[in-house]
Every structure is written in C-alpha cells, then in structure tokens.
Symmetry: C2
Subunit: 369 residues, 2 copies
C-alpha cells in the first residue's frame, strides 16, 4: 500500500474515493462469500516474514506487483531514483531467494512493462521478450535467440530490465517458473468486480506522476483543462484495457511455463497509438482543446511501434479496443468524481535531467507548438 | 573494508599478513611523501555522506571497487545472495545518483568482470562490450550495435550485468562519463608499490570463496595439498596479471570517454586458458598432484573462449604472460607465508543450487574422475 503513502507525499489523491483495504475486503466477503487473506509488510525489507508466509501458505503462484510503478515518480529527484532501485530490486530478489529457500515449486507472475524494449525499434515488430539475431563468427553467420536488447528510458523502466536479469538467473540456476508480463499503458477504470459496489472502486490517477496518458486526457477534458501533450505527441505506445489486463494475468496464472523451460514472456498489450492520436480522439469526443508542452523525458520525438501479442491471442483473448465506445465509461467515471479533481496536480513537474530544469518546471504556459 | 569483516565471518584470513589500512597509509607516506586521504563509510547506505564527499573533493575520476566481488560467496545462502544484490546495486546507483546531483563532470571507472558475457560463446570472439548483430525487419536485414547479451552464472555476476544497465541509463539520460572494465581472473601477488615494504603487502586469498584459481593452485602446491579442479577443468577463462590490471586502471583513468559518448567498455584480460591447463602447468612446476571434484557451479563442462582486448593494446599495454616465468614470484610469496595456511579452508563449500547440496558439501573425497 505504498501508493497511498505516496499520495500523502505528493499531496495527490485518487480521483475516485478509494476505501481502506479492510473495508474493501469486508465488502468483497459480503458480496461473494469469499475471504481474501491480507498481510501487510514490505517484501523489500522483511525477507524472513516473506519466507515464512511462503512456507506456511504454499502458494501455487505469486503475482508480484510490489514495485514502484511510475516512470515520472522515479525521476523526480535523487531520493526517488534510490527509492525505486532499492525497493524494486530488493523486493524482486527477496521474493525469488525466498522461493528457492522454501524449496517449493511456486510460479512467479511479474508485472513488467513494454518500456523495457525502449522505443528504438524502427521497422522492427517487437517480439515477445526474445529476439532472433545473427552474428558473424569464425564459422560463418550464426543464429542466436537472445533476450530483447533493453533500452530503458527512466529509472523505473531500468529496474524492470534489471528484474529481467534476476528472472534469467533464478530460472537458469534454480529452475524457478517465471512469467514476465510486458504490459502496455492501461486505460479504463472499472472491471466486473469493481462495479459490484462503490466500496470496491479502483484508484484513478490523473496527476502528472502516476496518471497514464489516456485516463489523464479524459479527466482533463471533463474538468475543462486543455489536453497536455508532451513534445509533438508523436510518441507511440502500446495500450491495453484494464479488463483485458485482468484476463491476461489470469491466463498467465493458468498457463505456467514447463519446469526448467526458460522465462515465459508475454506482451500484454492489444493496440498501439500515438499520444497525438489519443488527444485527437478525446478532443473529438469532448471538444477539449489540445495544448503542447515541452517534453520532460529524453526520448525520440516520433517513433513507430508494432507489437506482437500472439501468445495471449492464442489463449483466447478478445481485446477491448479504443474504438469500441467503452471510452465513454471512463468519461462517466471521471464526470462523476470531477469535483474531487485538484487541477494543480495535472501538470508533470518531474524533470528528468539537470539540463531540463529550466525548461519544464511545472510551466503551465510553456509550449512547443 | 568489508572484505576484512567477511574474513571474520568465514573464519579465513589472507595468506599474507595484511596490516591495518592506517598503518599502510602511514608507511606509504613515509616511503613516498604522498598522502592518501581515507574516509571509511558504506556507499550503499550513506548516500548523503558520499554526495558531500564528491561535492567537497570534486574528483576528476572515481574508481568504483565497492562491490562484493566473489561468485562463490554470493551463492553461499539466501543471505549472501541478498547481501550481494543490495550492496552492489545500491552502491553503484548511489554513486551515479550522487554524481548527477553534484552536477560535477566526474568520470566513473568501474571494475566489472569478463563473467558478464557468460561463456555461451562458441565460435564467437568476445568483443569489448558491444556486439554487432543483424535482425530481420519489414525492410530487410538491419544491423544493430547492441550491448553484448549478458549471461551471468552467479548472483555476483548478475549484479555486474545489472550495473551495466545502471551505466547505460545514467550515461544516456545524464551524460555521465563511465568506463566499465570487464576484468578476467587476476593472478600474481605483488606490484612495484607493494614490494616497497612488507607493510604494503597485498591480500592473497586461497580459500574456496575468494581465492582465484591460479593463485589457489600455487598455494595448494606449496602446502602439499592436491590441486582442486572442479568438473573436468575444461572451463576456459580469461586471465590478467595483477601488475597489468593496475596499468589498465591507470590507462582507463587517463582516457575518459568523450562527453555524451556511450559507456566505454574495455576487456581487461590478456590471455585465456582452461583450468585443466593451469593445473598441469602448476603440477609440472611443483610436482603437485591434480584431483578432480564435482563442480558446484551450473556451467558448461567445456568451453572455448577468445577475447578481444585491442583497446588496451592500442593504449600501449605490454602484457605479462603466464609463460614469462613470473609464476615463480607467486610460489615464493606462497612459500614464505605457507605456515599461515589453514588447509580446511581450501575446499569450496558453496553449493549453487538446491539439487547440488548432497553432491558438493565440502566433500574432500568425492571425485569426478
């Protein structure tokens, strides 16, 4: 629940009013009769508590979400860089070391990111984790099947590429079953489960650090703020709807890799779009104005991106696409809670390197175009 | 000085009697008139002390040796895995984050390892850090210059491959100047400087965790212990003499990469040999018996290895080779201090994964051949 603590640090709050974890679990029990057991501790700092829990609980699968998950947050300052590295790497390493020490056969499902690939991929369809390459050797050209060369664009993304090396090693040395989900940007707000009761409503982040691009645009439109595009908006990203995300995690749990086979990697994304296209889509649907800001990130102005996701498609995923009209659901949720929106938190104030400090410090007025 | 603390943990000691750091610095001052300033703190835990030191000292170069450096030690237990990951990654990240925060132009020279390449390299001459590969794209075959695909064989080696991602990111995002030295196995004991006085003598590790293979064989021969070869001895590794290692670090300091050019990577190794060949060489020189033990490591029984080191050769390195007879110097040092040798520490007791526990637990008698 570090995310709630970070709200306090940032002076932010979820657009939707989220209840305490205890109320949520209680309501879930009332509605479904099912009990979710809950233990609250920091896996990056309490190795032995984690080990004891794994030994006692004997899980088939651990779904590992316990990482600091925002790129802009990871770049706010030296403190945030160090927190992200220490928290994410110690947490993942503690989990894997504990599974080895428990001597149990536990499948780890880890939430990764499409960002591990970087976006230096012109003309290349992004494969699912591994890349076939050819190298020149003394004996002629040789084919190698390598982990996709990582190119992280933030400290947060970097920790995910370092996680991949933890997975590679524990899989190879100890035979751990591991599935890494390279997830795109999530949009949408509700699932069947969260719609059952207002107490079960999801977080909805719209701030410059944790809000993801499409959800942010929709909130901006609803509260009458211009849509904030960084750079030219030519950055192309992969997306997935929140309901598909939940289905994919279920599919990953139900389909663990064979023992002693390599780390399984799925691309958990269903479509790719440029930020500019998303802004236009939201602008057309809502009449919102689009405004261009200097980009605080070090990245290409424009990129193309095509992503393979055959594995989940083969397992029966039937993706919810942006064009399906379900975008209205997000607008409705945003509209319902717009009185909770703090407009001063909309702009990203995280500067990614020293030479940008002058350019991007929360300057509402500064525009590229 | 964590290495001295680890001696206490392992019940080991350097074969050579090393003086306290204070005595060493004092003697150096008496001999040369030069003062080495010394500050003792843990960079993985004292970020602000490190930052303050960098700001006050304004170094041109930081030579970063502050990592747990033994593969067998990193594999001894869950505790040792976690210590190695936390210490090495937090330390390196703290250093880089501090340099960025200081806003100074500091060149980082990092001691890496040839082990980041892994040894899955049949037929491939190991380049200096980067590998030219070809990939199939929609627009035909495309050439990419990628970081050499890492294949770490231990937790220790894994942290060095994760360091490489830290270097990649801070170099790309913040323009830090970084040189990573992919060092082979060091042999030899003395340098011109350490020979000036007995108080300046180097550590000489011969134990199963920290002793490197050639030095260990020489001590074993001198104390009448059989040479301990793990597996078939077909493992081929890259080597460098300690005096060349010191020269290479000096060359790296004197030749920082251009500002905003990519991370500079040198292969700091001068020859490659199989463990079996080294054992034969020492056996011939000393009459020692060779004994084969089950290998506690998960690795190929036999491998070939050819390593490029053109960059240091171009800078004028004139390598000391094994055949040069300088091996006798090591034998002399080992012989001088052999009364200090604890034979019970010679065997490696670190088991690298659960299914090996029965096979390798310090079993002096168990042999492969």
């Amino acid at each position: 629940m570090s995310r709630r603590t970070i709200d306090i640090e940032l002076g932010c709050d979820s657009l939707t009013p989220i209840s305490s974890i205890f109320k949520r679990i209680e309501r879930w029990k009332e509605l479904t009769g099912k009990t979710i057991e809950f233990y609250n501790f920091d896996i990056s700092r309490n190795y032995h508590r984690l080990l004891t829990l794994i030994k006692d609980f004997e899980p088939d699968t651990v779904v590992h979400f316990a990482e600091q998950r925002a790129a802009p947050y990871s770049m706010k300052s030296s403190y945030h860089k160090r927190y992200t590295v220490n928290n994410n790497l110690s947490g993942t390493n503690n989990l894997l070391a504990a599974i080895v020490e428990s001597q149990l056969d536990v499948h780890t499902v880890h939430l990764g990111t499409m960002g591990v690939y970087g976006y230096q991929t012109a003309g290349l369809q992004i494969p699912e984790g591994y890349l076939k390459v050819f190298v020149e050797t003394d004996e002629g050209q040789k084919e190698l099947d390598i982990m996709y060369p990582p190119s992280p664009g933030s400290i947060y993304h970097m920790t995910k590429t370092q996680d991949a090396l933890l997975f590679y090693f524990y899989n190879k040395n100890d035979g751990l079953r591991i599935t890494d989900l390279h997830q795109g940007v999530v949009w949408g707000t509700t699932t069947e489960e969260t719609e059952m009761d207002v107490v079960l409503v999801n977080r909805f982040d719209y701030d410059g650090d944790y809000g993801t691009v499409l959800n942010r645009f929709l909130v901006q439109a609803v509260v009458g703020h211009p849509l904030t595009v960084h750079g030219t908006g030519g950055q192309t990203r992969a997306f997935i709807h929140i309901r598909d995300m939940v289905k994919c995690i279920r599919m990953a749990i139900d389909n663990p890799p064979e023992l002693w086979s390599r780390v399984e990697i799925f691309n958990q994304a269903t479509e790719t779009h440029s930020v500019r296209y998303l802004a236009q889509l939201v602008s057309e649907a809502t009449g919102a104005e689009i405004r261009y800001f200097k980009n605080p990130r070090k990245e290409a102005l424009e990129n193309r991106l095509t992503v393979k996701n055959e594995k989940f498609m083969r397992l029966g995923l039937n993706p919810i696409k942006l064009e399906s009209g379900i975008m209205n659901e997000v607008i409705q949720v945003a509209d319902k809670y717009k009185h909770r929106c703090d407009k001063s938190r909309i702009i990203c104030t995280s500067c990614w390197c020293n030479d940008m400090e002058v350019d991007c410090q929360g300057s509402d007025s500064e525009q590229v175009n």
